[in-house]
Symmetry: C2
Subunit: 205 residues, 2 copies
DNA sequence: ATACTAAACGGACTACGGTCCGGATAATAT
DNA sequence: ATATTATCCGGACCGTAGTCCGTTTAGTAT
């Protein structure tokens, strides 16, 4: 069993030591301004320049706080992300521990689909790292969780890569394309996911 | 049965009519310069400014020819892409018609994995459209092919979405991450793909 | 209070993808 | 040859993410 350091999402703190008061104040200003801007222009319409101006700080401050645009988006998502993590790691079955692995897999997909549809553009923008989006703590955690459930379900073959395939299926960009462009219903997504994982873990006669 | 208009990849021609002689000359200059630059700096190191300068044309010309950076990359890949398309649509079994659907699915994955590993950065850069990368002709064709094979194999449930999951599994960015960062071997990828599609199409007892 | 220092600040700067439009030019008609 | 026109050309221009570095400031030691 592995226990990660408990929801290591992204606090928005650059250094390791305590935070200076002006830094803390600016972080709040920035998060507040970001939420305002997203409400006004949507997540895709948020630019780092507009954000800096709205918050009344320099552009450098924005990047020192959040590292990148994707980092900012992750910070904005961190509360709901932590909530979701808590549910699938410690919450009630079938998402949390207690239910059989296959049930948990199905619930995980449904949960993630709901999450992505709720925070659509934000989730997509958070994924838009130029570098490896697969090494973001949250992504690593999902992957490990899927891998763990696959093992528990008795999957023989390469749970690591299978977890990767499953992660790919739940990729925000694809899900949003299916729903928004192709008009696929969330229920249909969930059902397809259920079929997928069910067939995956079914033992080879 | 559907027969697409036969390998509609991307010719690099903007208008619909015939091409003016200077335009044709510049297109050749650009493709040649692009291949040079990729050899020198890698696909990721190619910028549209450098390309224009190297080819001795204006920047506008580059974008009129190829539409975008991703469009240029697709054009550079079009020969090998056409070759791959020809193989899985008309070539010899097990990739081409004649073999049982499951065999063809397995071969398709292996072929695609080989393709992505061969043209790595190029394939990834070609996928990097800002807009919907899922509507690129080549991607649509793969998707339809996978969907068709899934149906042929007797899959009951939602072949369209299942084909989408399978496409996601074969996404260049993910494959390259697995191989280059995680050190997964191509054989392991192929084996995992084989397991995945085999389990998918296995009938529900 | 004063001096000191590490941290944070700000905004000019770069790199890059992509757009625009006035001017050049190849094909065609006369 | 000349005129006409649709197409193409070039490079200045824009918006955006991200970097850099001289300046300011919060916290702390004296």
């Amino acid at each position: 069993m592995f226990l990660v350091s408990l929801i290591p999402i992204r606090s928005g703190t650059p250094g390791s030591g305590p935070e200076r008061s002006d830094a803390a104040r600016n972080r709040e200003l920035l998060l507040c301004a970001a939420r305002q801007l997203i409400e006004e222009c949507g997540a895709d319409g948020l630019t780092m320049d507009k954000l800096a101006e709205r918050a009344g700080v320099g552009k450098g401050t924005v990047f020192r706080r959040f590292g990148s645009r994707a980092g900012l988006m992750m910070t904005l998502l961190s509360d709901s992300e932590a909530e979701f993590q808590g549910r699938f790691m410690f919450g009630p079955p079938p998402l949390g521990p207690g239910a059989p692995p296959l049930e948990r897999l199905i619930a995980f997909g449904a949960g993630r689909i709901g999450y992505v549809l709720e925070y659509g553009d934000l989730a997509r923008a958070a994924d838009h790292s130029v570098y490896n989006r697969f090494e973001v703590p949250a992504a690593v955690l999902w992957h490990r969780h899927l891998e763990y459930l696959l093992r528990e379900a008795g999957l023989e073959a390469d749970p690591w890569l299978m977890a990767m395939s499953l992660s790919a299926t739940l990729d925000p960009e694809r899900l949003l394309y299916a729903v928004r462009v192709q008009g696929v219903s969330p229920e249909r997504l969930e059902e397809s996911w259920r079929q997928l994982v069910t067939r995956l873990v079914r033992p080879a006669e």
